[in-house]
């Protein structure tokens, strides 16, 4: 079979990459990529607009998951849901940064798997709560070992806090049947003539979700060991306390 394949539509990908590198507004980048891709595939402009319109109408189901719970979540937020969640999580006392982040990873992944994807996030959980708690736990551990945290390690702990939120969210949310990605996959496969049960897709996400938890928890354990090692190295002469005194 030697049918010629038109490679010009790949330009659309180049537009997206360039747009993000130039930090243009993402919505404009997407529209520009649509135009370039359509023209590169030699579609007439009215046909491009028609394709965009029918694709937009066809994917109207995507934002529902995000939008429908907002009224209830907004009311609960007003009544202090976030403050309550923060107070509950703050009660989970743990000695090390890695263990604390592992608990957060578990809570975040399970909550996302049950569709509560907004029970977390960088501005409302990681910055005010998770990262400071992890840093404080690491400080305590370092002090116990007779050392102190260096600035690079401090930054590493904060970056790991943000990473933990991402990993928990990403690999939890696809296990919930109504999440956007599952609906998107169903829509795409249906357009290709494959009818797939969303429950099955959610089910087959579980092995990866478990693996991601184990792998990230392992990395958090490595973080703990690094904290301990660097704390020891920071004051090698402190050894057993007394000798270091001048």
């Amino acid at each position: 079979m030697h049918t010629a394949v038109n490679l010009w539509p790949l330009l659309g990908i180049a537009v997206v990459a360039a747009g993000f590198l130039l930090r243009a507004n993402p919505v404009l980048v997407v529209i520009a990529a649509c135009a370039v891709t359509g023209l590169a595939a030699a579609l007439p402009p009215t046909h491009i607009l028609e394709s965009l319109g029918s694709a937009f109408l066809k994917t109207r189901n995507l934002p529902l998951i995000l939008l429908l719970p907002l009224a209830a979540i907004g009311l609960l937020e007003r009544a202090g849901l976030k403050e309550h969640a923060q107070a509950s999580i703050a009660r989970v006392r743990s000695a090390t940064a890695g263990r604390l982040l592992t608990v957060y990873l578990l809570v975040r992944e399970l909550a996302a798997a049950f569709g509560l994807t907004s029970l977390g996030g960088h501005p409302n959980m990681v910055r005010p709560l998770v990262a400071p708690m992890a840093e404080a736990a690491a400080d305590a551990a370092a002090a116990k070992a007779g050392g102190a945290l260096g600035e690079p390690l401090r930054q590493r702990i904060r970056a790991m806090s943000a990473a933990t939120d991402n990993v928990g969210l990403f690999f939890g949310e696809d296990v919930f049947v109504a999440f956007g990605a599952i609906v998107l996959m169903q829509t795409i496969l249906r357009a290709e003539g494959l009818e797939v049960d969303p429950l099955h897709m959610a089910l087959w996400g579980i092995p990866t979700a478990v693996s991601a938890f184990v792998i990230h928890a392992w990395n958090l354990r490595r973080l703990d060991r690094r904290i301990l090692r660097e704390a020891m190295a920071a004051q090698p002469r402190a050894g057993h306390g007394m000798q270091a005194r001048p």
Binding site: V27, R60, N61, V126, A178, P198
Partner: protein
């Protein structure tokens, strides 16, 4: 039958309310264009398929231009102070979690137990829940149940709920529409043959006659394409259409559910590695005052790469399940 059209209507009304509340918000210097943006989105939901595709396309491009030139701004939506919220949290305690948990619980019940329930009411007989969009419709019912419970627990009116929804929609701003637009781009890519071009380039340079190699190319392709596009939603249609469906399902008879689930998770490994996914990787670095913009990506690297490798193995061993 409770169909998805009911929820399109509700979302359309919610956007219309957002438009009206923004129009009346004199504190917002961009209130006219902000209201226009939400009004256009409301029209697309309220009119739906009654719109000609060309008209819908024009409305969508208009929305994108209004948003793209920075004309959508959040209005003023007051929230009680932190002390008041803490006091309320202490008073209501775990009761606050009940409405939030109602959403997943009702969704699960709807999509499993009520799956085959039929109703027979006078002029209408048929399934209770739209079988084609079962989970979404169940979730919509869950959201309505949650709203009712939230009103009960907090003693607020549903109208206050609409105001709160507008506050959250405003806070997200035009970003609400971005996943939707990326999905449109993905579908256009499929129509323009980007998937075919990618598949052509891949198969021209890599022979896919080994099953393990096909699994690896599919998973790595998902991750790489997501790194370029910054979003798994845009990568999925292209790579699933280019390699997943024709090669894995077509040649190797893989179970499409396994292919899709593991494919999307491979795409997420790419999301962990790209500065294009700004919301997840670059914004947090700024929020946490890290001098290295890529610090979060570096922290995610030792998780993303092993998970991608595990995905290839899982796909290889589970694809016939």
């Amino acid at each position: 039958m409770i169909s998805i059209d009911l929820f399109y209507l509700l979302v359309g009304l919610l956007f219309a309310a957002t438009a009206i509340l923004n129009l009346r918000d004199r504190a917002n210097p961009r209130r006219y264009t902000t209201a226009l943006f939400w009004g256009l989105y409301a029209m697309l939901y309220l009119l739906g398929e009654r719109l000609a595709p060309l008209a819908a396309g024009v409305l969508m491009v208009a929305m994108a231009l209004v948003a793209g030139f920075g004309l959508v701004r959040p209005g003023r939506a007051p929230l009680p102070g932190e002390t008041a919220r803490r006091a309320s949290a202490a008073r209501l305690g775990h009761k606050l979690l009940i409405p939030a948990l109602a959403i997943p619980v009702v969704t699960m019940i709807g999509s499993t137990l009520l799956k085959d329930v039929r109703v027979d009411l006078g002029g209408f007989a048929g399934p209770l829940l739209d079988p084609k969009n079962l989970t979404l419709v169940s979730m919509g019912c869950g959201a309505m149940a949650a709203l009712a419970l939230a009103c009960r627990v907090t003693r607020a009116t549903p109208l206050q709920g609409v105001r709160e929804a507008r506050r959250l929609i405003d806070a997200m701003g035009w970003a609400v529409v971005l996943p939707h637009m990326l999905a449109v781009l993905g579908l256009l890519f499929a129509e323009a043959g980007v998937g075919k071009a990618v598949a052509h380039v891949t198969t021209a340079y890599i022979g896919l006659d080994s099953r393990l190699l096909a699994c690896a190319v599919f998973c790595i392709g998902m991750a790489l394409f997501t790194i370029v596009m910054g979003n798994g939603f845009a990568a999925f249609p292209v790579i699933a259409g280019g390699i997943g469906i024709p090669v894995l399902v077509g040649v190797y008879h893989a179970n499409p559910a396994v292919m899709a689930a593991i494919g999307m998770f491979s795409a997420y490994c790419g999301t962990l590695l790209t500065p294009m996914a700004a919301n997840f990787n670059i914004v947090p670095a700024a929020l946490l005052e890290l001098p290295d913009k890529n610090a979060v990506i570096k922290a995610q690297l030792p998780t993303a790469l092993p998970v991608l490798a595990v995905n290839i193995a899982l796909l290889y061993f589970l694809m016939y399940q």
